[in-house]
Symmetry: C2
Subunit: 223 residues, 2 copies
């Protein structure tokens, strides 16, 4: 089962079993198969994936560091359930990372990536595919941050968005949340392309304020 695939990829690749297991778990969490707050049993999962508990524990450490899992000492690991305070902090970070990004002179290639993500979102919105809207939206903001041209900031944003996905998974209806922001993304991109960084930054701040408010509003009751 996993063991053979494991050997193959070790031979021609670079990742250890623990890392590959982490990839699998990250994907499951990201798509919502493992719900926030849910406990992940060492025995159950190690058995299901065909790896030893030691190896699985290494994977848990990795994901814990990404804030997708929470380690409670002697109680096990749980899928993180971010608090309202966490949401507020995530948006503080977004203001910093995205704000700095839109103030920079944008590169041609990055602009194309941003545009593509936005176009995908608009198309998905037309077809009422809100799952796809959310995904494209995330790609849009990831691409915005990549204007900074910093691998570390890209990685930070990637983790931040993964954490934000946890929040979306406990919301009542993520569809209604993402919808109104597609049009705003278009405006934001327009300001960037027009070379008006300060206006773009101000618009973005408003944008994020509004998103944070709506998110916390839809979120708080669920705690």
């Amino acid at each position: 089962m996993l063991a053979e695939l494991s050997q193959d990829r070790v031979r021609l690749g670079r990742s250890s079993t623990a890392e590959r297991v982490a990839d699998i778990l990250r994907e499951r969490i990201s798509e919502g198969a493992f719900r926030p707050g849910q406990r992940l049993s060492e025995e159950g999962i190690s058995e299901a994936l065909g790896v030893s508990r030691n190896t699985l524990r290494e994977s848990f450490r990795l994901l814990g560091h990404e804030r997708l899992l929470e380690h409670k000492l002697n109680r096990g690991v749980f899928v993180r359930l971010p608090s309202a305070e966490d949401v507020a902090d995530l948006y503080r970070v977004r203001r910093v990372l995205e704000g700095a990004a839109v103030r920079r002179k944008p590169g041609e290639r990055t602009l194309a990536v941003i545009n593509e993500a936005l176009t995908d979102a608009e198309r998905a919105a037309e077809q009422d595919d809100w799952q796809a809207v959310g995904t494209a939206n995330i790609r849009f903001h990831q691409a915005i941050v990549s204007l900074n041209e910093s691998p570390r900031l890209n990685e930070s944003m990637r983790q931040l968005l993964a954490e934000l996905r946890l929040v979306f998974h406990v919301m009542d209806n993520p569809r209604a949340f993402h919808e109104p922001f597609v049009a705003r993304n278009r405006v934001l991109l327009g300001l960037i392309e027009a070379g008006r960084p300060e206006e773009a930054a101000a618009y973005l701040d408003d944008y994020l304020d509004e998103a944070e408010r709506q998110l916390i509003h839809a979120y708080e009751p669920n705690r």
Copy 2:
């Protein structure tokens, strides 16, 4: 040995053995006892610290995620030796995190912390204690970032500075590097306290450009 201390701290605290071992290793790396590029033997260290290899490997994962250690498959873990490109990226991140910080209206308490760190640096400089200057300098910039009032950004900065310390450890003479920036820190703080955020941000950008240039200049030859 460590085992007993371990039990005590578990009882009254929250951290696991792996985390405590990670703390110890982080400290050793930070103070330069483990040099960048050096390989850390699983057997040697697990024996020296009195923990099992499995536990130690969990610690290695933690520090790997903090970019202090590098995992080479089937070859072991090494203390990271950042490349010149890494240094450039670290400074890109600093411009974003510190730039956003100085643009915000500063809180009284945070200002006091910044001031304290700076005063310590000035005092240490007078006494030619360059090690202490470097330490206080790091505290100064950490405090600057804390103006953002974001736990996640504080944590990012903490990790960034730990990584930057690796760079300092392979420099010829870190003393000469830190010295000229103490005076600039005072100017920067003055602009912040005077409520001139844009000037502070511009001054900071210059500051970081100069620091990056000097650092890469003193660093590149060593690769």
